[in-house]
Symmetry: C2
Subunit: 460 residues, 2 copies
């Protein structure tokens, strides 16, 4: 059977695959720092060469920022679009690394062998799992299993400024049946996971304005309205402390309860609530009282305060009543929540609570993003889930994700594509931090997982 | 009658007195900036020379910072201690000045003639009112009217670090019957005022600590406790929004109601509440509902938020749940409020309201200061009030002050002296700001006022 041959080939080729990944990891493609512009280009060139060697017709495509890499290979069966990114995070603080971030190596650790280096997990190691699966497939079968478009970005860690324009300009070329994204973690170590719902995002920022100028608290302390007190009261009013719910009227419009069968699956997915909370210093969950931590994180909306400031924050004391106080908020959206509608509700909530003589200025007009809920009734999802379960010998789960991954929304809104987010990273991979690593198991079983998924999708 | 001769002499000598003040104003004695150390020294020398010329045995006295100026003259009758400060505020932003801050001149303005320059009002012009009154007295009578100690500081605008040690070390030498302080404003233009009660001060600062590290609001938004939300709730709990009162249990212990006759005096003292509030952008008072603006400012305690900060405050957005949030507060104290006791109550208030998993750290252990309430039953107070009323042809008032003037408390606690705070500044003098001025009327009638007060005190 061809799949078994491919899997054997993957096992045999693992040392060489690891070497190839090391080569890519040695290129310091830090996208946010202009000093590494040539390195980003070099990483793109490396991928272009590697894909062309696989028979994928691949080109580096210029953008106002770092280039895209786009490759096409023809074939029968479904048309897949695979996405990953070749850029990496900066490495500061360098002194906390145990080795040169761009001189990767295999290390033995108590938890197993790992590939240590910047980008090992996010996202070079992950994107190469798919490329290596294709390589093994081709070695055994002489061609790739189906029509595939490869789409690699080099600006993911710097806000993807070129992504939407590029996708919009090349929408026809990037069309496919379904997208595969390899940039996520597993719910728990060894538990294969497909992220099928991502929370959306709304950002806003406001300033409460009180007196015309900063005042002396000896002169105006008492009769004077203090914007810091005002903003504290308003921020405190955002939540009902009894229930943990957001108290903005209509906030939960469009939120749906998680279906019972999905909830059961989540409850048995291996997520360790106590460990998740304890690892950052919590002894208990602090959100909505009627929902588990996992539901709160994956399926419930939030209104979070990300910044709050005003007055004097230097050493010692200053007897000031400041003229202004500021607050930055983000909301995570789920279900059918409408970001524009929600923004209006939040602003109305604040405005209704202003004291006389207090004014509010809204300082953000960024567009919000709806939640992404994948259509897991599509047969590809169940086929991929089965393939993952087979590889990891553990029931794979459709999980949610607390974060907001804009690329999935863009695939849907610009290209009309559902996306399967399948990744093999672990929570302890230290992505964005010193000593990033990728478990050798993630890399090896990740490659094998994609081989099984390709097999399942082409047979589906 | 000697007093009339002194007053005539003052009128005749006004141009020369103004020239002398100009000379002192030309010395840029900015105490907070080490670049002006020699100028502070020069201002002290100028005063030493001027007082010695008056027959006051005066010396410059070294401190770890800028020097004190201490002079003694013997005489019959009461022993007075006169305090002022020769240092001035920095002049930034310089571009907002209409002229060189240290090239003072007389200007005609719609509200009358003013002396424009840094320190004209705070405090060189004010301290020279007393020196010029003494000069005129001596010119007419051949000697000063009574035993006087002159005590000038050069660090008032930089926190008076040497003051308490110097007063403690020289307590015996600085002993007197009563202190006179000329560093305050009149309640309203043309309304002579003796500040007989000053609010005390308590400073504190706290940090709310939530998770062990900054968290991603996508991962922990929902189940995670957010210190910004926590601190907003706690800050909001400090006040009862219905009544405007501070809601800390026992906060008002030691606060006394203002006696009815004093309240009547305040109500007719010429304070224009609407103007006071409107000038900074308020249309109404915002403090305790049952008290007038003047009572709130002079006779009621406050708990004020001076700084509040945590999380991200740069451009754009950062999806962070910060590990810490911070708050600086000051309380103004009145009556018999005990700062140590109050600090315990405020800390208990915060600690009782912490959520599970939230901790508080207290970041300030500065000593508090009780309110100063002068004993206005002493005959000197009524004598001075009458003298002021005679000069300004308007009933002088015993007023409160919202601010906290530590020197008055130090005179009481270190030297056992009551202090009469009598100053001729106007609220629009722009002290600490560009284009500081002192009304020529304040200077002229201020000198005449001290002559009358000296006369009244020596006859009392």
């Amino acid at each position: 059977m061809a799949l078994n041959d491919v899997l054997s080939r993957i096992d045999a080729d693992l040392p060489a695959a690891t070497d190839r990944l090391m080569e890519l990891l040695r290129i310091p493609s830090i996208s946010t720092d202009p000093a590494y512009k040539a390195d980003c280009d070099k990483a793109a060139d490396w991928l272009v060469a590697d894909l062309n060697a696989l028979g994928v017709k691949t080109e580096k495509r210029a953008t106002p920022g770092h280039p895209m890499v786009v490759g096409h290979v023809d074939g029968d069966g479904p048309h897949l679009l695979f996405y990953g990114h070749y850029d990496v995070q900066p490495v500061d603080p360098l002194n906390l690394w145990t080795r040169d971030p761009f001189d990767p190596q295999i290390e033995d650790t108590p938890a197993g062998r790992v590939i240590r280096g910047r980008g090992a997990s996010d996202d070079k190691g992950q994107l190469m799992t798919f490329v290596e699966a294709c390589r093994a497939w081709k070695a055994v079968n002489g061609s790739l299993p189906c029509k595939i478009t490869f789409f690699f970005e080099g600006e993911e860690e710097s806000g993807s400024p070129s992504l939407v324009p590029f996708m919009t300009d090349n929408a026809e070329e990037l069309g496919a049946d379904i997208a595969l994204i390899c940039d996520t973690s597993m719910v728990a170590r060894g538990v294969p996971s497909i992220a099928s719902q991502l929370r959306g995002m709304l950002k806003d920022e406001f300033t409460i304005i009180g007196p015309r100028i900063d005042l002396h608290s000896g002169h105006y302390g008492g009769p004077g309205l203090n914007p810091l007190r005002e903003i504290a009261r308003i921020v405190a009013s955002f939540h009902d402390e009894e229930t943990g719910r957001v108290a903005v009227e209509g906030f939960y419009d469009g939120v749906h309860e998680v279906p019972a069968d999905q909830l059961r699956q989540w409850q048995s997915c291996g997520f360790d609530e106590a460990d998740y909370l304890n690892s950052v210093g919590y002894t208990q969950p602090h959100g909505e009282k009627d929902y588990s931590t996992l539901e709160q994180q994956w399926a419930r909306p939030t209104l979070e305060i990300n910044g709050l400031w005003g007055g004097y924050n230097g050493a010692g004391s200053k007897t000031v009543i400041p003229s202004e106080a500021h607050c930055k908020i983000t909301c995570r959206l789920v279900g059918d929540m409408d970001p524009d509608d929600l923004r209006r509700k939040i602003r109305a909530h604040v405005e209704a609570r202003l004291s006389p003589d207090a004014k509010v200025r809204w300082d953000n007009d960024l567009e919000g993003a709806r939640a992404s809920v994948m259509n897991i009734d599509r047969p590809e999802f169940e086929a991929a889930r089965q393939a993952l379960s087979d590889e990891w010998k553990r029931e794979a789960v459709f999980c949610g994700m607390g974060g907001s991954i804009p690329i999935a929304g863009h695939f849907k809104s610009i290209l009309g594509l559902d996306a399967m987010l399948i990744g093999y990273a672990n929570e302890d991979d230290a992505i964005h931090s010193p000593n990033e690593k990728y478990d050798l198991q993630s890399f090896h079983k990740g490659i094998r997982s994609w081989a099984r998924i390709l097999d399942a999708l082409t047979r589906a």
